[in-house]
């Protein structure tokens, strides 16, 4: 009774299909791979480390973000083998300057362009359906990999800023072409 996960309608979260990925709601079955990620030093750029109960709370807050805002963070898995590979989408809580486009890819998904594919789809969806365009991303100054990806996606450095007492760089994404 204590550990059940439920497959319930999370209709607040739209499903997006790309060439290789499905972007969909965060779900209980993502928890083991999320927990493994949040146990590593790779998670230090995005709020880690966290243990399994804290990671469960992250799952709940991501779902609740969608329910409160009508937009939020998608989790994505590969179409070929339905393996959970990371997240991409929007985050906007008190203290944020504006809605942020963020992403993380699991270690075994790095270097394959999966994060770019997910972020490109999330960014286009936000512009078309959520009236959120020319989005910004917070990049920790030490996160060279994330900065490189932001630049690859066409984002440009806008200014230095502070988020929750930590210094970060704001990168601005290009306005999306009308489809």
């Amino acid at each position: 009774m204590t550990h059940e996960g439920r497959q319930l309608n999370t209709g607040a979260v739209p499903i997006i299909e790309t060439d290789r990925l499905i972007l969909r709601a965060p779900q209980m079955s993502d928890l083991p791979r999320m927990t493994a990620f949040f146990a590593t030093s790779r998670s230090h750029m995005v709020g880690g480390p966290r243990d399994e109960p804290e990671t469960f709370r992250t799952l709940t807050s991501r779902l609740g973000h969608w329910m409160l805002r009508g937009y939020g963070m998608w989790h994505f898995h590969t179409k070929a083998d339905e393996r959970f590979m990371g997240w991409a989408g929007l985050m906007y809580a008190p203290g944020w300057h504006e809605p942020e486009l963020g992403w993380t890819v699991m270690e075994d998904g790095e270097g394959k362009g999966l994060a770019s594919e997910a972020v490109t789809a999330a960014r286009a969806y936000a512009a078309r359906h959520q009236a959120l365009d020319a989005l910004m991303s917070y990049i920790a100054p030490a996160n060279a990999r994330s900065r490189a990806m932001a630049i690859r996606l066409g984002a440009t450095f806008e200014r230095k800023a502070e988020l929750l007492g930590m210094s970060c760089d704001i990168y601005r994404h290009p306005r999306q072409e009308a489809a």
């Binding site: 009774m1 204590t2 550990h3 059940e4 996960g5 439920r6 319930l8 309608n9 999370t10 209709g11 709601a25 779900q27 209980m28 399994e52 109960p53 469960f56 709370r57 799952l59 709940t60 807050s61 991501r62 779902l63 609740g64 973000h65 329910m67 409160l68 805002r69 809580a93 008190p94 203290g95 929750l164």
Partner: protein, 178 residues
């Protein structure tokens, strides 16, 4: 997805963004010290999001409780089961200024009836921080009895209060909820 429950004075419904100012004020205040506070607005916003996100993950959660007559949002009460809880819990947090009217007891009874009658829980507990006398009184009014202690690294030491089983409420209790 989040059902609406009603009692004689209260309506239990899904939390909404409009509840946030009152929710944040509670979590900024010292009254929240027994339930993980005080916390910043950013943390409180995430806490409200967690209340909502618990519903799709577990199939149940906590409701925002309002006074039916006035629409005032007065508390977050319902069924709570994060990964590090000893077992599913009936929890109640009254917002500032709404203590002393029996609202927590009334809403928690409705939540308990939902747990037993709709979800089929065989039993239920409530966790009460050791210094939270007001919350302990609610547990006692609901007929719960002490059943050990639970220590949580963040929330501290809590008393486990065990509610009467469904069968023990069936004489005279359940009709009142129907």
């Amino acid at each position: 997805m989040i059902p609406v429950l009603t009692t004689s004075r209260l309506t239990l419904r899904a939390p909404t963004p409009e509840d946030f100012p009152v929710f944040a004020e509670f979590y900024a205040s010292d009254r929240s010290r027994h339930v993980g506070g005080p916390m910043t607005r950013e943390q409180a916003w995430r806490a409200l999001a967690k209340e909502l996100g618990h519903w799709p993950l577990r199939g149940y959660g906590r409701w925002a409780v309002e006074i039916t007559e006035t629409g005032a949002f007065i508390g977050i009460i319902g069924l709570w089961n994060p990964l590090d809880w000893p077992e599913p819990e009936i929890g109640w947090d009254l917002m500032n200024g709404f203590e002393g009217h029996g609202y927590a007891t009334e809403a928690a009874e409705a939540a308990r009836a939902h747990a037993y009658d709709v979800l089929g829980w065989p039993t239920a507990i409530s966790l009460v921080a050791v210094a939270n006398d007001g919350s302990r009184k609610v547990a006692q009014r609901l007929g719960a009895t002490r059943d050990g202690t639970f220590h949580h690294d963040h929330f501290g030491t809590m008393e486990i209060w065990r509610h009467p089983a469904p069968v023990d409420l069936s004489d005279g209790g359940m009709e009142a909820y129907a």
